[in-house]
């Protein structure tokens, strides 16, 4: 049992996109703020701070997670993935990111990091999604720019591309 006192800062350590990170946080510090302000990982955005908009969505131990509804203290020892971990290298976008770019699935980009995390997580488990399934997944996000249609198109295109890439590697 660990009890962290309200008025002091406590060490928080976890793995972020495969690398160990650590910082200090009061118990009340949100994971979204810890990522952005303590670790400088500003790819994760903050929209509403009450779980509705989905901009802050990250992956904690394989679970889609609103970082604004999570305390930094809660993820001590966990494995986190954020949008910074999606690109295979600093100068190359991943398949899903490229599909977003081709289809204009982002305009201002405020919602994008969260949506990419949801889709990345979902496509890994459901390689051949239907449009209805993508729409259902997107109900957990708000985008004020695109009208969603290009996001759905990008998601389906990326799914198809990822599946055919897998086939090629397994045929070879």
């Amino acid at each position: 049992m660990t009890r962290l006192k309200a008025d002091s800062r406590h060490a928080v350590r976890f793995s972020l996109n495969g690398k160990p990170v650590e910082g200090e946080a009061e118990p009340r510090m949100l994971l979204s703020d810890f990522l952005r302000h303590q670790l400088g990982a500003t790819g994760t955005h903050v929209g509403c701070e009450h779980g509705v908009c989905g901009a802050c969505t990250v992956i904690v131990d394989g679970m889609l997670t609103r970082s604004c509804l999570t305390l930094a203290a809660q993820v001590d020892g966990c494995e986190l993935r954020t949008v910074e971990g999606l690109a295979p290298s600093a100068d190359r976008l991943g398949v899903l990111q490229q599909a977003f770019r081709r289809n204009h699935a982002l305009q201002c980009g405020f919602c994008t990091a969260g949506i990419l995390m949801s889709l990345d997580h979902y496509l890994a488990k459901n390689p051949a999604p239907t449009e209805a399934e993508i729409r259902d997944l997107l109900s957990g996000h708000i985008c004020r720019c695109t009208g969603y249609t290009p996001i759905i198109k990008a998601a389906l295109e990326a799914a198809a591309e990822l599946t055919s890439a897998k086939k090629e590697t397994s045929d070879a």
Partner: protein, 271 residues
């Protein structure tokens, strides 16, 4: 906004939770999936002095058949229950209602018991508990007790749980070969229900449970009714629920939905 200051206790056993609740009482809050509590803290609608995180307690993560019931522990997330292979067979009503609880991104963290503790009048899991006639398993350092669904919900976001009690789990009856139906109307899928209804064929007739209208989910049993007798019964029930106007819908619209969905679902389960 940001949450107010509180101590954070990472409980490793049920004993840790019960001690914390006994010492701090009404100033302590259990932190389960955080999908309702954290939003309330961010908006400063709640100002607890202590949060007790129960999600690292393995013994609370059980989904088990016990005789003719299924026991679901406080650590079971909504996504865990949806992924339980026996769900549609053992708890078909829950299988229908659970996908309506929030979004995939909130079901991944939110728990079944947290939804019951939160007791939102529009929430689907309290409705399912009442429709099925389940029980809530409460435990404090002093005692253990079981409370029937209809006695558990006391009002809007109010339950029979005392400040020092943990909802350790719930018990839902397995109704063999039950015919069940569920339907909800909300602004968007994933929003809280304007009206949600669950119907179940019973030995003597039919049960209809309604959420989103009264302060608590409410069930009503009828013998097999048809035609205008059914319409009259549904109309009386719709009025008894005491619908109110709010930003989402008028009282009249809610009554309409109870009558219409009620008739459809009862038709479905009696077919």
């Amino acid at each position: 906004m940001k949450p107010p200051a509180f101590d954070y206790l990472r409980a490793e056993s049920v004993g840790d939770v019960l001690d914390g609740l006994a010492q701090q009482g009404g100033d302590a809050r259990v932190l389960a999936g955080g999908q309702s509590l954290m939003a309330m803290l961010n908006m400063r609608l709640a100002k607890p002095k202590l949060l007790i995180d129960i999600m690292r307690i393995n013994e609370l993560r059980r989904i088990e058949r016990e005789g003719e019931t299924v026991v679901i522990g406080a650590g079971v997330r909504q996504a865990d229950l949806l992924a339980w292979p026996k769900l549609s067979e053992a708890l078909p009503l829950v299988a229908l209602a659970l996908p309506w609880v929030g979004h995939m991104q909130t079901r991944s963290r939110g728990t079944i018991c947290g939804s019951l503790a939160h007791a939102d009048p529009s929430a689907e899991m309290p409705l399912a508990l009442v429709a099925l006639g389940g029980e809530v398993l409460l435990r404090s350092a002093r005692r253990r007790r079981r409370v029937a669904a209809k006695d558990f919900f006391a009002g809007m976001m109010l339950t029979a749980r005392a400040d020092d009690e943990l909802i350790e789990g719930i018990s839902l009856p397995i109704v063999k070969g039950a015919r069940v139906a569920f339907r909800e109307v909300a602004r968007r899928h994933g929003d809280f229900a304007i009206v949600a209804c669950a119907a179940m064929r019973t030995q003597s007739g039919v049960r209809l449970a309604v959420g989103g209208v009264a302060d608590v989910p409410t069930a009503r049993d009828w013998p097999k009714l048809e035609g205008s007798a059914l319409d009259d019964a549904l109309n009386a029930f719709a009025y008894e629920l005491g619908a109110r106007d709010d930003v989402h819908a008028t009282a009249r619209y809610r009554r309409d939905l109870v009558r219409m969905i009620g008739r459809d679902l009862i038709g479905e389960v009696l077919q």
